[in-house]
Subunit: 152 residues, 2 copies
């Protein structure tokens, strides 16, 4: 489905898409809000999810916990329209900038999955602090009677 | 070093840091520029890298290819000062916003590792397109006589 891996120079400086799938057949995907720049979620794509995302312009992922391909929003309606996709130097991670349909990306009802801060610096402790954590939808309503197909 | 994993509710709605390290003992880290919001790189942290980052306020990673703990910038001088760290809903990914020392984060000499766009949409083809790909430093000079300690 994708080109085989070439030399380091070909992978880093070439125009050939040759993703480096890990032992589980996955690349990492970072998804940001195309307008705000906020990181909405981090997920994974197998070859099929990557191909589907490229072909349809909507985000598809592979759930590591449920072991299934899923289209973001297929349960919740909160689909993600891809505005731009980038790939990194060694081609084992992609970055998609998306227009998020609906109020939020996270299955807990928040806009982003990253709603807690980790303390940093000497003597900062280890307690998480909720930040930008307001619920923008009620998961109990959005997923009522539906099976969540993916992780987020 | 970190708390054991609790129930889903505890992991998602609690204040206890209980990272979900994968089979290789790693969590994913997304690193963005604190000012521009641009995604600079995606890397991994083992427990020690995460602990070091929290304690020192500088980014530490674990290289999957070199199998070693590394402090970002220890070869290049391009250290990353952590302005804020977030963790996601299921605690298997962190997001750090950093002040990047030096001109860029990528070992190829670019500001970001994500200097190529992947075509998206029907009939878009598969050729990568260089975007924001100007070199801001010369890796041959920066790494001259030094061993690169990590992936990027």
């Amino acid at each position: 489905m994708f080109a085989p891996r070439g030399s380091t120079a070909e992978v880093e400086e070439g125009r050939v898409l040759a993703p480096k799938f890990d032992a589980d057949g996955l690349v990492t995907c970072v998804t940001t809000d195309a307008r705000s720049g906020e990181v909405l979620m981090v997920a994974h794509m197998n070859a099929q999810a990557l191909a589907n995302t490229m072909a349809t312009g909507e985000a598809w992922y592979f759930s590591r916990s449920r072991r299934n391909l899923w289209r973001k929003g297929e349960s919740s309606g909160h689909v993600q329209k891809v505005v731009e996709m980038r790939i990194d130097c060694d081609q084992d991670a992609v970055w998609i900038k998306v227009e998020q349909a609906g109020p939020g990306a996270c299955h807990t009802g928040r806009r982003s999955c990253f709603y807690r801060a980790v303390p940093v610096g000497e003597g900062a402790g280890t307690r998480l602090e909720f930040r930008d954590a307001e619920r923008v939808f009620d998961p109990g309503i959005v997923y009522a009677g539906r099976t969540r197909s993916g992780d987020c």
